[in-house]
Amino acid sequence: MSPRVVFPNKILPYLLVAPQLAITLIFFYWPASQALRQSMLREDPFGLSSKFVWFANFKKVLSDPNYLNSIQVTAVFSIATAAVAMGTALLLAVMAEKVIRGRGVYRTLMIWPYAVAPAIAGMLWLFLFNPSIGSLAYGLRWLGINWDPLLDGEQAMALVVAAASWKQISYNFLFFVAGLQAIPKTLIEAAAIDGAKPTKRFWTIVFPLLAPTTFFLLVVNTVYAFFDTFGIIHAVTGGGPGKATETLVYKVYNDGFVNLILGDSAAQSVILMVIVIALTAIQFRYVEKKVHYG
């Protein structure tokens, strides 16, 4: 590539990057560095002095049964959310590819949940399944199910997973549709001529060729389940009942803001940071892969 043609100004570029840089430094780097520092400090009970304790906070956090529980909750929540949201979206996208009439209408109706805030999504589902006034809860009880997500941890988990996946279906649907459209029609035709029946075609041709999209969505859905669902947990269960739906992000918030255990909360933040970095790295590996493909 030839060197880019540029403007010769010396001062102007600094002025142009200044706003973004200032915000980045003040609201991203300074707090992040503070989180790092805080994670190695421990305050005395009155908050008057603090001392440097190296990795003691991390040790404490990682041996705390509540934190280990939270890791488990997050894992269950993320896997279930990603599986439900991606599975449903893939099914719908495959069906949408099959129909000719009404495609646009289906898509338009399918993208609504994307515009709904996670917290509101949670509230809508809570309203539907609220044990005392939810119509669907009424239905479940009528079916003989002892439904009360406010008391039963597993039911609470099911409810937040439902709300979280519901909101993510739109996004996954659009990407799966795009992924399906990118598969050349002649490949499907060649497979049909090669004697593969529709189901076989899907699993041997379509699904493998969709792998880059699926993998990308897996990362995006994991990030979503980890971070963007805070609103759902906060609005629907508050981490309860017990600690049955206390995810990692919710626990950081809860320990820092509600329980005011600063050192622990900061250590948890740093652990989360490591997780984000790992996920981002995986995502970029994927982007590189995609460049190599085809």
Binding site: L12, K98, L109, M110, I111, A117, F127
Partner: protein, 282 residues
């Protein structure tokens, strides 16, 4: 022809309709609830068709000042949310455009350092630096201000990367031509770069507007006063009490008002929206 036997097509439509029902039902149900009286809502199951309290419920919520959220009318909340969503979307676009412009069209010491500094913020979402960022807000006196709700959220690597990517596709001859014509960097920015970026800006705007509108954790942290709440936070406060006290019909109206504007943006600007989604994730 392959696969489109009538039965298969029928099954496909059936699955899609079921899917749409699942996707749309919670929203429809909320709408239905928002048109019934509190008494009807408290006695499930709710009718499947809208009731007759549309006008009463909506005007009460919009102008009545709902008791549970400290006498703040939904109109105020909608105003706050609109300001925040627009502020975040426009602010992000402006500062990203500027920094991407600097990084692509100028050569200056520390250019790549700046680029990486911006890039790495991808890995620092609010959730991982909650407390210290909150402290910064307190120190700057930004609690309960629009600036506090907006400014910390407008730095983003995604938008900058997107514009950078796009600017890199603009041929150097265009810059040369501009320079030969005696156009300075500002003229070039206004007359050439901005018009060329229109599509990208529109696509990004939709995504960022939704992003701003649906913020939760940040507004929760930096607002204490009820009249500075966004509608999402206010909703949460409305149902944070025991069921018996919750004015569900007004909650439902507020929910509708909270989800209809972004849905309209997504549906009406669908073309840009889909493009924006795909672009920002590359």
């Amino acid at each position: 022809m392959i696969d489109n036997s009538p039965i298969r097509t029928f099954i496909a439509h059936l699955v899609l309709v079921l899917g749409i029902l699942i996707v749309a039902f919670p929203i429809y149900y909320t709408f239905v609830a928002s048109t019934h009286s509190l008494q009807t809502i408290l006695r499930p199951p709710l009718p499947l068709l809208p009731g007759d309290r549309f006008v009463e419920n909506y005007s009460e919520a919009l102008f009545g000042g709902v008791g549970r959220i400290g006498g703040v009318s939904v109109a105020t909340l909608l105003f706050n949310t609109t300001v925040v969503a627009l502020g975040i979307a426009i602010g992000k676009i402006i500062i990203s455009l500027l920094s991407a412009y600097a990084i692509v069209f100028f050569r200056f010491p520390l250019r790549m350092t700046f680029f990486w500094l911006i890039f790495i913020t991808l890995m620092l979402p609010v959730e991982v630096r909650i407390l210290p960022t909150y402290k910064v807000m307190v120190d700057f006196g930004l609690i309960d201000t629009y600036a506090g709700l907006i400014v910390p959220l407008i730095a983003s690597a995604t938008a900058t990367l997107l514009f950078r990517q796009f600017f890199l596709t603009i041929p150097g001859e265009l810059v040369e031509a501009a320079r030969v014509d005696g156009a300075g960097p500002w003229r070039f920015f206004w007359d050439i770069l901005l018009p060329l970026s229109r599509t990208n800006i529109a696509a990004l705007f939709v995504i960022l507007f939704i992003y701003g509108w649906t913020q939760y954790l940040w507004p929760l942290l930096v607002t204490n006063r009820n009249d500075m709440n966004t509608i999402v936070i206010a909703l949460r406060k409305m149902i944070s009490f025991a069921d018996a006290d919750t004015e569900w019909h007004l909650v439902m109206v507020t929910s509708m008002l909270a989800i209809v504007p972004p849905i309209l943006v997504v549906v009406l600007m669908q073309r840009w929206f889909v493009r924006g989604l795909v672009d920002t994730e590359k």
